[in-house]
Subunit: 445 residues, 2 copies
């Protein structure tokens, strides 16, 4: 069994191999080696120098994974109309965002506001001593740390950012001798992860030095053990809010069976459910991230950071809840979303990935704050569309209509077969089984 043996060999120095050799090792695991090599290569960019940039984003790259790059038109945020780039594989997300944006474009558009844009980093350390002695020198320590990182911060300061504040956090009640220096940063238009981590590592070394130099410290107090220094992806002070509002009667056409007010009330009930039931809350918020992540990826931002911050925020009062909320008052429907959203429009991949760069240009080269507002609006757009479907016709009609093409592609339907199928499934229920049956029928004839 040579194939089985190959699978089990430990591969040494894989990352140092040429791309072609890596490809060969991958292909050896496949039923059809030549076909696999061809497939992987067919996804390379035609322009070698461009492909090289993608190869060097990461390690052991052998191909490019395609995710559809789509756009949602008519996304009006604070009066400005955007064509928003969305990178997403889920079939109904772009359609839902577009339909929601189109509706709101005639009802005042999205409103958005950045509440704050501070980021957090932490130096975690153990220190055995009298806390008041550390507090007594803390102002001096802050100056010392700022000085130590001045090479790193100079550039950021010239752009209007830098280290905003430092705080000593006493965690000794949780873990013996454990303290943090919690640092607040303003990274202006960059996501700022590298900047923050570089500062913190510098602070950590300087903190140790500072303690060593304190004449008033005992021998034990002069020893400060650094555990780790790292940014936090939880950014409750990098907060954005987006909302839509209209009168009940503007919602009259949402559903044949419901008046505008009835629709608003049913919608509000669905959102209320996501505030009291965790099973529902998770899915409710997932629909928000469908839109947020699609904008994040399209603009070269790190969607894992956005997900982590947003979901942590959803659990901030001890119970995981909906991130969006409805207010019904004086005949008005208001729907809002507030969440932490640390995004960047410079640095990272924003200018290195040609399509990320394109996305930002399409959006009119926004500042980080503007991008936060656009992304939050898109998240709200998707969430609104999902709840609207759920409380009226249900989610499956729209979703399966979008998925129909995927199922037809699975059966390698021709253009003619697709056209016929689309007409047929206007009247019939889309499901994998039904499409399969339908394809067998029309191919028999």
């Amino acid at each position: 069994m040579p194939r089985r043996r190959k699978r089990d060999i430990i591969i040494k120095g894989f990352s140092k191999l040429l791309k072609e050799d890596k490809l060969k090792i991958v292909a050896e695991l496949m039923d059809n080696q030549l076909e696999a090599m061809e497939l992987l290569k067919s996804f390379w960019h035609n322009d070698n120098s461009r492909q090289k940039v993608f190869d060097e984003f990461s390690e052991n790259t052998i191909s490019n994974f395609y995710i559809p790059y789509g756009v949602a038109p008519n996304v009006i945020v604070n009066g400005r109309n955007h064509l928003v780039p969305l990178v997403i594989e889920e079939s109904s997300v772009v359609a839902a965002a577009s339909s929601s944006a189109r509706f709101w474009s005639e009802h005042g558009g999205f409103h958005a506001e950045v509440i704050n844009e501070l980021k957090i980093g932490q130096v975690h350390f153990l220190w055995k001593g009298e806390k008041k002695k550390l507090l007594a020198v803390f102002d001096e320590l802050k100056q010392y740390l700022r000085g130590a990182a001045s090479d790193i911060t100079a550039n950021m300061e010239s752009r209007g950012g830098g280290v905003v504040d430092m705080e000593l956090i006493d965690m000794t009640a949780e873990i013996k001798n454990y303290y943090q220096i919690r640092v607040t940063f303003n990274t202006v238009d960059s996501m700022g992860a590298n900047f923050i981590n570089s500062c913190l590592e510098e602070f950590a070394g300087a903190l140790q030095q500072f303690c060593k130099n304190q004449d008033s410290f005992t021998k034990e107090e002069k020893e400060c053990q650094i555990i780790m220094s790292i940014l936090s992806n939880y950014t409750p002070e990098c907060l954005v809010t987006a909302w839509v509002e209209c009168s009940y009667d503007e919602l009259d056409k949402m559903d044949k069976g419901l008046t505008g007010q009835q629709f608003a009330e049913k919608f509000a009930l669905a959102v209320k459910i996501a505030e009291v039931d965790v099973y529902r809350a998770t899915t409710h918020n997932k629909g928000i991230f469908n839109g947020l992540d699609a904008v994040a990826i399209a603009t070269g931002n790190d969607f894992r950071a956005i997900e982590a911050a947003g979901h942590t925020y959803a659990a901030k009062d001890g119970r995981y809840r909906s991130l969006s909320h409805v207010e019904l008052k004086d005949g008005k429907f208001k729907y809002s979303l507030t969440l932490p959203l640390a995004m960047g429009t410079v640095g990272g991949l924003t200018s290195l990935h040609p399509l990320a760069k394109h996305s930002l240009e399409m959006l009119g080269k926004p500042s980080a704050k503007e991008l936060m507002m656009i992304a939050a609006s898109l998240g709200l757009a998707n969430n609104f569309a999902a709840i609207r479907s759920l409380v009226t016709k249900g989610i499956q009609i729209g979703h399966m209509k979008m998925h129909l093409m995927n199922i037809l592609n699975h059966f390698e339907a021709t253009k003619e077969e697709k056209e016929k199928a689309v007409l047929y499934f206007v009247e019939h229920k889309v499901s994998f089984a039904n499409v399969s049956k339908y394809m067998q029928e029309i191919r028999k004839n």
Copy 2:
């Protein structure tokens, strides 16, 4: 200002335009229209029929967004060696996973176990009546609902899955007259979202019919108002655990300054911090999702669903915490990760996306359970690598070494310049400013 005007026009029927016309509208927003069109087209697949499949994944698709498709070798899970496909844009994730996997390949590999694989869906409804009357007919109702969805469930049942159980959940303490039917599903190797949602919508209609037919119900009790019917992405009963373990002395080489036991203790402290501090917990878990999401995307799974479930689970006891845990006992280090992970290996995009299909074949065509175990191991691998770096040399050295190529590409460094720079930055600190200075220097000479 014609450009400004164009931006502000509401576009009607955008989704029905030809792809070329959509492209034109997008290009009109750009400084250089022709270049923008060429750029977007340059990312299309050479094979038209293949490109069409990507276009039809979603709506308003105008190009493909490339994300590096890489592999991590030597990932041993329950004794079997895998080359794991990873789709990720963040520079250090593949390198970290590979290095971690390589270490553990010589120390017993990853161990993993699927604890359960049930998924949840909910029919949310309002019902005004005596609860005991609903409970009295609930067994009969369950049979009725199962019957109503039998067309949909037949296929899934033949594969060993289907509806496992239904429960009546009384939520009237939270919201007046609000109940749920909480349904448990087994969707075998599929993620199952479409299946679950189709069943639930059928149940909702049948529930209304059932109430109407109950002779023992009052007029009011015969009216059951459906709010919505939808799967839950929170899947605490679709749970996987992965772990690694070794003796302290196997960790002796982790850091020059630390014995194996000291390393284990410092590592444990860093993880403990992620259990007591929410700012740290978010970032700690984010590192786990770096690996999980990369496997999810590579295999055609929905990473938003995975993120939502995992983070909700992290907050399950009222405080958002680390998903991974250390145990130090009898000279042994054990590191484990337990989280909900609903993945599929059939349905959705798993066979429609050529590279997702390729990924699954590379992994030996795993069942959903096997994929859950591989992904969890990869998440743990990334998490281990991150904590290891944090508590020893710091995260920035490795990260910036990986990012060096990106910065060099930013300055359009030639092959020769890159080779020189890599040598230079073995000894010098990588930062954007330093690389910029270095490039200016060598280009002056």
